[in-house]
Symmetry: C2
Subunit: 153 residues, 2 copies
Protein backbone atom coordinates (compact mmCIF):
# COMPACT_ATOMS: atom_id res chain seq x y z
CA UNK A 1 0.00 0.00 0.00
CA UNK A 2 1.38 3.42 -0.87
CA UNK A 3 1.10 6.50 1.27
CA UNK A 4 -1.43 7.85 -1.25
CA UNK A 5 -4.08 5.41 -0.07
CA UNK A 6 -3.00 5.34 3.55
CA UNK A 7 -4.98 7.52 5.93
CA UNK A 8 -3.22 8.80 9.00
CA UNK A 9 -5.35 8.90 12.14
CA UNK A 10 -6.31 12.55 12.66
CA UNK A 11 -5.30 12.45 16.31
CA UNK A 12 -1.72 11.76 15.22
CA UNK A 13 -1.67 14.78 12.90
CA UNK A 14 -3.35 16.95 15.54
CA UNK A 15 -0.43 16.45 17.88
CA UNK A 16 2.28 15.85 15.30
CA UNK A 17 3.77 17.47 12.22
CA UNK A 18 4.24 15.36 9.09
CA UNK A 19 7.96 15.54 8.28
CA UNK A 20 8.16 12.96 5.50
CA UNK A 21 8.56 9.31 4.62
CA UNK A 22 11.02 6.55 5.44
CA UNK A 23 11.55 4.32 2.40
CA UNK A 24 12.26 0.64 1.93
CA UNK A 25 15.89 0.17 0.89
CA UNK A 26 16.69 -2.59 -1.60
CA UNK A 27 19.84 -4.71 -1.82
CA UNK A 28 21.51 -2.26 -4.18
CA UNK A 29 20.66 0.58 -1.85
CA UNK A 30 17.91 1.81 -4.15
CA UNK A 31 14.76 3.19 -2.56
CA UNK A 32 11.36 1.72 -3.25
CA UNK A 33 7.97 2.78 -1.82
CA UNK A 34 7.45 4.36 1.55
CA UNK A 35 7.69 2.02 4.53
CA UNK A 36 6.72 4.52 7.22
CA UNK A 37 5.51 8.02 7.86
CA UNK A 38 7.67 10.20 10.10
CA UNK A 39 5.95 12.69 12.36
CA UNK A 40 7.39 15.16 14.84
CA UNK A 41 5.40 15.66 18.02
CA UNK A 42 4.73 19.37 18.24
CA UNK A 43 6.51 19.92 21.53
CA UNK A 44 9.59 22.07 21.05
CA UNK A 45 10.95 21.13 24.48
CA UNK A 46 11.32 17.41 23.77
CA UNK A 47 12.70 15.97 20.49
CA UNK A 48 10.10 13.32 19.78
CA UNK A 49 9.53 11.36 16.60
CA UNK A 50 6.50 9.22 15.83
CA UNK A 51 6.97 6.45 13.25
CA UNK A 52 3.83 5.13 11.55
CA UNK A 53 4.32 1.99 9.42
CA UNK A 54 2.32 2.40 6.21
CA UNK A 55 -0.42 -0.01 5.25
CA UNK A 56 -0.41 -1.89 8.50
CA UNK A 57 -3.75 -2.90 9.96
CA UNK A 58 -2.27 -4.80 12.89
CA UNK A 59 -2.09 -2.89 16.13
CA UNK A 60 0.66 -4.61 18.15
CA UNK A 61 4.38 -4.87 17.41
CA UNK A 62 4.31 -8.69 17.38
CA UNK A 63 1.81 -8.59 14.51
CA UNK A 64 4.33 -6.96 12.15
CA UNK A 65 5.98 -9.52 9.87
CA UNK A 66 9.73 -10.12 9.92
CA UNK A 67 10.47 -7.69 7.11
CA UNK A 68 8.42 -4.94 8.75
CA UNK A 69 10.07 -5.50 12.13
CA UNK A 70 13.48 -5.38 10.52
CA UNK A 71 12.60 -2.11 8.74
CA UNK A 72 11.26 -0.67 12.00
CA UNK A 73 14.48 -1.50 13.85
CA UNK A 74 16.53 0.07 11.06
CA UNK A 75 14.47 3.24 11.35
CA UNK A 76 14.83 3.22 15.13
CA UNK A 77 18.60 2.73 14.91
CA UNK A 78 19.17 5.49 12.37
CA UNK A 79 16.78 7.98 13.95
CA UNK A 80 18.20 7.34 17.43
CA UNK A 81 21.66 8.07 16.05
CA UNK A 82 20.31 11.24 14.48
CA UNK A 83 18.80 12.38 17.78
CA UNK A 84 22.04 11.67 19.62
CA UNK A 85 24.03 13.65 17.05
CA UNK A 86 21.90 16.77 17.18
CA UNK A 87 20.42 16.95 20.66
CA UNK A 88 21.50 16.44 24.21
CA UNK A 89 20.26 12.92 25.02
CA UNK A 90 20.54 11.13 28.34
CA UNK A 91 18.11 8.34 27.37
CA UNK A 92 16.21 7.28 24.31
CA UNK A 93 12.64 6.27 25.14
CA UNK A 94 11.12 3.92 22.59
CA UNK A 95 7.54 2.72 22.86
CA UNK A 96 4.52 1.22 21.20
CA UNK A 97 1.53 2.11 23.36
CA UNK A 98 -1.55 2.93 21.27
CA UNK A 99 -4.19 2.62 23.97
CA UNK A 100 -5.94 5.70 22.62
CA UNK A 101 -4.91 5.82 18.94
CA UNK A 102 -5.03 2.24 17.68
CA UNK A 103 -3.31 2.93 14.34
CA UNK A 104 0.12 1.42 14.81
CA UNK A 105 2.73 4.01 15.73
CA UNK A 106 6.00 4.08 17.63
CA UNK A 107 7.39 6.80 19.82
CA UNK A 108 11.09 7.62 19.73
CA UNK A 109 11.92 10.29 22.25
CA UNK A 110 15.17 12.00 23.18
CA UNK A 111 15.08 12.55 26.93
CA UNK A 112 17.39 14.61 29.10
CA UNK A 113 17.59 14.97 32.84
CA UNK A 114 16.76 18.64 32.31
CA UNK A 115 13.50 18.16 30.43
CA UNK A 116 10.28 19.07 32.18
CA UNK A 117 8.99 15.55 32.77
CA UNK A 118 12.19 13.76 33.71
CA UNK A 119 12.31 11.07 35.07
CA UNK A 120 8.63 10.45 34.34
CA UNK A 121 7.32 9.41 30.96
CA UNK A 122 6.20 11.86 28.28
CA UNK A 123 2.79 10.39 27.51
CA UNK A 124 -0.13 12.44 28.70
CA UNK A 125 1.73 15.74 28.95
CA UNK A 126 0.68 18.93 27.17
CA UNK A 127 3.23 20.76 25.03
CA UNK A 128 4.01 24.23 26.39
CA UNK A 129 6.12 25.41 23.46
CA UNK A 130 5.38 24.59 19.81
CA UNK A 131 7.88 24.51 16.96
CA UNK A 132 8.20 27.45 14.61
CA UNK A 133 7.84 26.77 10.89
CA UNK A 134 11.54 27.60 10.48
CA UNK A 135 12.55 25.03 13.09
CA UNK A 136 10.56 22.33 11.33
CA UNK A 137 12.08 23.30 7.98
CA UNK A 138 15.58 23.15 9.41
CA UNK A 139 14.98 19.75 10.96
CA UNK A 140 13.49 18.40 7.73
CA UNK A 141 16.48 19.67 5.75
CA UNK A 142 18.86 17.99 8.18
CA UNK A 143 16.98 14.68 8.06
CA UNK A 144 16.99 14.83 4.26
CA UNK A 145 20.72 15.49 4.22
CA UNK A 146 21.71 12.81 6.71
CA UNK A 147 19.25 9.93 6.29
CA UNK A 148 19.43 8.40 2.84
CA UNK A 149 16.06 6.70 3.07
CA UNK A 150 14.17 9.75 4.36
CA UNK A 151 12.25 11.88 1.89
CA UNK A 152 10.56 15.09 3.01
CA UNK A 153 6.82 15.56 2.65
Amino acid sequence: MSSVNFKLDKRLTNDGILLGYLHWVGTKNELSGEASILLLMNNAEIPWFVIVPIGVTAIDIDELDEKQQSQLLKEVNVLSGFLKSHYSVDKINFASIGNIVKQMHFHLVARTEQDGCWPGVVWGITAKIKYTRQQVENLTTLLNKEISFFKPN
Copy 2:
Protein backbone atom coordinates in the same frame (compact mmCIF):
# COMPACT_ATOMS: atom_id res chain seq x y z
CA MET B 1 28.51 -13.19 29.56
CA SER B 2 26.47 -15.75 31.45
CA SER B 3 23.77 -14.99 33.93
CA VAL B 4 26.13 -16.14 36.68
CA ASN B 5 28.25 -13.00 36.30
CA PHE B 6 25.42 -10.70 35.40
CA LYS B 7 24.02 -8.55 38.18
CA LEU B 8 20.43 -7.46 37.95
CA ASP B 9 19.74 -3.93 39.15
CA LYS B 10 18.15 -4.25 42.58
CA ARG B 11 15.35 -1.87 41.69
CA LEU B 12 14.21 -4.34 39.01
CA THR B 13 14.06 -7.19 41.49
CA ASN B 14 12.35 -5.00 44.10
CA ASP B 15 9.41 -4.49 41.76
CA GLY B 16 9.66 -7.71 39.80
CA ILE B 17 9.83 -11.46 40.33
CA LEU B 18 12.52 -13.46 38.55
CA LEU B 19 10.68 -16.04 36.45
CA GLY B 20 13.58 -17.47 34.48
CA TYR B 21 15.74 -17.12 31.40
CA LEU B 22 15.17 -16.79 27.66
CA HIS B 23 17.86 -18.68 25.75
CA TRP B 24 19.59 -18.17 22.43
CA VAL B 25 18.29 -20.68 19.90
CA GLY B 26 20.74 -22.06 17.33
CA THR B 27 20.03 -23.08 13.74
CA LYS B 28 19.22 -26.65 14.75
CA ASN B 29 16.86 -25.37 17.42
CA GLU B 30 19.32 -26.22 20.17
CA LEU B 31 19.54 -23.85 23.14
CA SER B 32 22.77 -22.16 24.11
CA GLY B 33 23.39 -19.67 26.95
CA GLU B 34 20.83 -17.29 28.33
CA ALA B 35 20.04 -14.26 26.18
CA SER B 36 17.71 -12.50 28.59
CA ILE B 37 16.26 -12.58 32.06
CA LEU B 38 12.48 -12.64 32.32
CA LEU B 39 10.85 -10.83 35.22
CA LEU B 40 7.21 -10.45 36.16
CA MET B 41 6.22 -7.09 37.57
CA ASN B 42 4.58 -7.84 40.90
CA ASN B 43 1.21 -6.33 40.07
CA ALA B 44 -1.45 -9.02 39.90
CA GLU B 45 -3.89 -6.69 38.14
CA ILE B 46 -1.77 -6.17 35.01
CA PRO B 47 0.14 -8.98 33.22
CA TRP B 48 3.49 -7.29 32.76
CA PHE B 49 6.78 -8.86 31.74
CA VAL B 50 10.18 -7.19 31.94
CA ILE B 51 12.89 -8.52 29.61
CA VAL B 52 16.50 -7.83 30.60
CA PRO B 53 19.12 -8.68 27.94
CA ILE B 54 22.07 -10.33 29.66
CA GLY B 55 25.56 -8.87 29.49
CA VAL B 56 24.53 -5.66 27.81
CA THR B 57 26.16 -2.45 28.97
CA ALA B 58 24.46 -0.26 26.39
CA ILE B 59 21.39 1.57 27.61
CA ASP B 60 19.37 2.33 24.45
CA ILE B 61 17.70 -0.07 22.01
CA ASP B 62 19.71 1.24 19.05
CA GLU B 63 22.92 0.21 20.83
CA LEU B 64 22.02 -3.49 20.71
CA ASP B 65 23.71 -5.25 17.80
CA GLU B 66 21.71 -6.92 15.03
CA LYS B 67 21.77 -10.34 16.66
CA GLN B 68 20.60 -8.94 20.00
CA GLN B 69 17.82 -6.94 18.36
CA SER B 70 16.68 -9.98 16.46
CA GLN B 71 16.63 -12.04 19.68
CA LEU B 72 14.71 -9.28 21.45
CA LEU B 73 12.05 -9.18 18.73
CA LYS B 74 11.73 -12.95 18.85
CA GLU B 75 11.16 -12.77 22.60
CA VAL B 76 8.63 -9.96 22.16
CA ASN B 77 6.75 -11.90 19.48
CA VAL B 78 6.55 -15.12 21.45
CA LEU B 79 5.76 -13.50 24.79
CA SER B 80 3.09 -11.27 23.21
CA GLY B 81 1.48 -14.37 21.76
CA PHE B 82 1.65 -16.01 25.17
CA LEU B 83 -0.04 -13.01 26.80
CA LYS B 84 -2.77 -12.97 24.15
CA SER B 85 -3.40 -16.71 24.66
CA HIS B 86 -3.81 -16.56 28.40
CA TYR B 87 -5.13 -13.12 29.27
CA SER B 88 -7.70 -10.70 28.00
CA VAL B 89 -5.63 -8.23 25.93
CA ASP B 90 -6.91 -5.14 24.16
CA LYS B 91 -3.45 -3.72 23.50
CA ILE B 92 0.13 -4.79 24.00
CA ASN B 93 2.29 -1.98 25.34
CA PHE B 94 5.98 -2.41 24.56
CA ALA B 95 8.58 0.05 25.78
CA SER B 96 12.18 0.78 26.53
CA ILE B 97 12.22 3.71 28.95
CA GLY B 98 14.94 3.37 31.58
CA ASN B 99 15.03 6.94 32.81
CA ILE B 100 15.35 5.72 36.39
CA VAL B 101 16.92 2.25 36.05
CA LYS B 102 19.60 2.53 33.37
CA GLN B 103 20.23 -1.22 33.07
CA MET B 104 18.64 -2.09 29.74
CA HIS B 105 15.19 -3.57 30.14
CA PHE B 106 12.02 -3.77 28.09
CA HIS B 107 8.43 -3.67 29.28
CA LEU B 108 5.84 -5.91 27.66
CA VAL B 109 2.44 -5.26 29.13
CA ALA B 110 -0.98 -6.78 28.43
CA ARG B 111 -3.49 -3.97 28.70
CA THR B 112 -7.27 -4.11 28.79
CA GLU B 113 -9.85 -1.39 28.77
CA GLN B 114 -10.90 -2.65 32.20
CA ASP B 115 -7.54 -2.29 33.90
CA GLY B 116 -7.13 0.42 36.50
CA CYS B 117 -4.91 2.74 34.48
CA TRP B 118 -6.50 2.46 31.05
CA PRO B 119 -6.04 4.39 28.79
CA GLY B 120 -3.06 5.91 30.56
CA VAL B 121 0.35 4.27 30.75
CA VAL B 122 1.41 1.89 33.52
CA TRP B 123 4.68 3.51 34.49
CA GLY B 124 4.68 5.27 37.81
CA ILE B 125 1.72 3.39 39.28
CA THR B 126 1.80 1.43 42.53
CA ALA B 127 0.62 -2.18 42.54
CA LYS B 128 -2.44 -2.69 44.74
CA ILE B 129 -2.52 -6.49 44.54
CA LYS B 130 0.57 -8.70 44.55
CA TYR B 131 0.84 -12.20 43.12
CA THR B 132 0.57 -15.22 45.36
CA ARG B 133 3.39 -17.76 45.26
CA GLN B 134 0.98 -20.23 43.65
CA GLN B 135 0.11 -17.82 40.86
CA VAL B 136 3.77 -17.29 40.07
CA GLU B 137 4.41 -21.03 40.08
CA ASN B 138 1.48 -21.62 37.74
CA LEU B 139 2.66 -18.94 35.33
CA THR B 140 6.22 -20.28 35.36
CA THR B 141 4.96 -23.80 34.64
CA LEU B 142 2.90 -22.52 31.73
CA LEU B 143 5.82 -20.55 30.28
CA ASN B 144 8.05 -23.60 30.60
CA LYS B 145 5.48 -25.74 28.84
CA GLU B 146 4.74 -23.38 25.97
CA ILE B 147 7.95 -21.48 25.25
CA SER B 148 10.75 -23.76 24.11
CA PHE B 149 13.51 -21.27 24.83
CA PHE B 150 12.29 -20.35 28.32
CA LYS B 151 13.88 -22.04 31.32
CA PRO B 152 12.57 -21.39 34.84
CA ASN B 153 14.79 -19.92 37.52
